[in-house]
Subunit: 327 residues, 2 copies
Amino acid sequence: MKTLITGGGGFLGQKLAKALAEVGEVRGEKITSLTLCDVVPPAKVDASFPVQTVTADISDKDAAAKLFADNPDVIWHLAAVVSGAAEADLDLGIRVNLFGTLNILEAARHSGVAAGRAPIVIYASSCAVHGGEEPEVIVDGVELNPQTSYGAQKAMGELLLNDYSRRGLIDGRGLRLPTVSIRPGKANAAASSFMSSIFRDTLQGNKSNCPVPRDFSVWHTAPRTMIHNLKHAAEIDGAAFGANRNLNLPGRTDSIGDMIDAMTSVAGPEAEALITWDTDPVIEAIVVGWRAFYLTNKGLSLGFKADDSFEDSVRFFLEDDIEKAAG
Amino acid sequence: MKTLITGGGGFLGQKLAKALAEVGEVRGEKITSLTLCDVVPPAKVDASFPVQTVTADISDKDAAAKLFADNPDVIWHLAAVVSGAAEADLDLGIRVNLFGTLNILEAARHSGVAAGRAPIVIYASSCAVHGGEEPEVIVDGVELNPQTSYGAQKAMGELLLNDYSRRGLIDGRGLRLPTVSIRPGKANAAASSFMSSIFRDTLQGNKSNCPVPRDFSVWHTAPRTMIHNLKHAAEIDGAAFGANRNLNLPGRTDSIGDMIDAMTSVAGPEAEALITWDTDPVIEAIVVGWRAFYLTNKGLSLGFKADDSFEDSVRFFLEDDIEKAAG
């Protein structure tokens, strides 16, 4: 199986690449190649199969087509301009999140014709497609009513993914990702960045600001669980998704306060003392429009998973991601 | 008020232009100009204000921008590749229905900046956005799950319209049009074309084929009522649409058989005798995915209207549209 990850230099792309290297197969067949593509040079990942890194901007149609030169069988399309950046720059978000996704689907379509089969495309959508005139508790089948440009662009990608799948051009699977917490690395332009940094940075001995109150609830998943779900999406039968290839991934709802208490119970009280509480109206305006409560029956029935506790997420972070030299 | 109609050469665009000429004002202000744009030269419409006709392809970004040279205040964006054509040619549908709509919204955005206010954009979406994993009876707030490329492209336009409105770049109002019956003119590439032609053509003395059974139910509106709704969309306050600027327009549900009986009761039995009943699996596959039953509370609460009966629709056709020389 030839595999491709867009956004392959990002933390999810890198973790997914390592997980693929570890397991060595997809859908019961050996992985024969992996291409990691990103807009900045992706880090190389060790594997028993050839791993190619490519620096390319998917908003360039020709660059996107080139990624499909070897007609990959399974594509994880993770590349995106994140929520805060897409809200700050509408044109950038449309270029990368809408046109970039269209370019990837078009490349998959034409590569699939050349290879004589519809490639599997796993698309990272987002819970940011939900908001506005939706019920407080999101269930399968509510109208997408994104209140950010990022969410609108992700929802448009879902519609393309589903239509290309319905036409048999690709075998698409769209996953609406909960906020990933605790995300490793640095703070970024995602409005949800603080939902990781108040744990990650303080556990690494640094101060971090929480721009929302303690009782703010978050719909979240640990990176380890997210990687399981991204891999799992390739394993199941596309037809099992039914007439909509996009679904809400399972996750957990916890308040920021409960998440901090979980961190303290696992790692001691030092980290919490490093959190500051300066509200940020710009971030709050974005994240308050996201939904925190979900019933993900479709996702659960297809075998996608949620975490058992945020304590687990803290342990996963300490095992997988903490930067030992920090502090 | 400077006004613009894309798809201004189509039957709805022409009827809307005539209705604007007749009333002479929008939102309590005199209309000072009307531009009718279409991909083929639109027919001129007589009015007390200047009417300009432009032949342009909105999928060309520069051509779309030129339509906004005089910074129109109210734009009806009706231009589209219809359902059957968009299903037959994915690239064409994406080019016109997605990129064309984006080009119109971008032109409206930049024209609005130049004019110092967000222009009103009324967008003709479609009940084809509904289907698939949706309930049999469509209510406000169900997830859009289009099962045609046309529906998917229209739904993407809705997301753009809503996001541009949320950002204050335009003042958008998206209307999901029921099938228009009885549409005047000729049969076209819309899969719903027969829903008009079995009445229009037979009332004009010509044979017409019905590709679905008598008990097939249709969600429909008469042209006269649709024009009322398209005009009404400009009159109400954009904020009244709430967090989603798109809504299901009111309409009527009738079976084809009941509609034929209504035609007979108004116009006599001659027309029905001209209907043939050869099933068409291609058309049936498309239209069977559309929904026929709706509760349009949001649309009704905002003052949009439905017909009282299909008998009325037949009378409207005989008064407004029948081609006297036909037969």
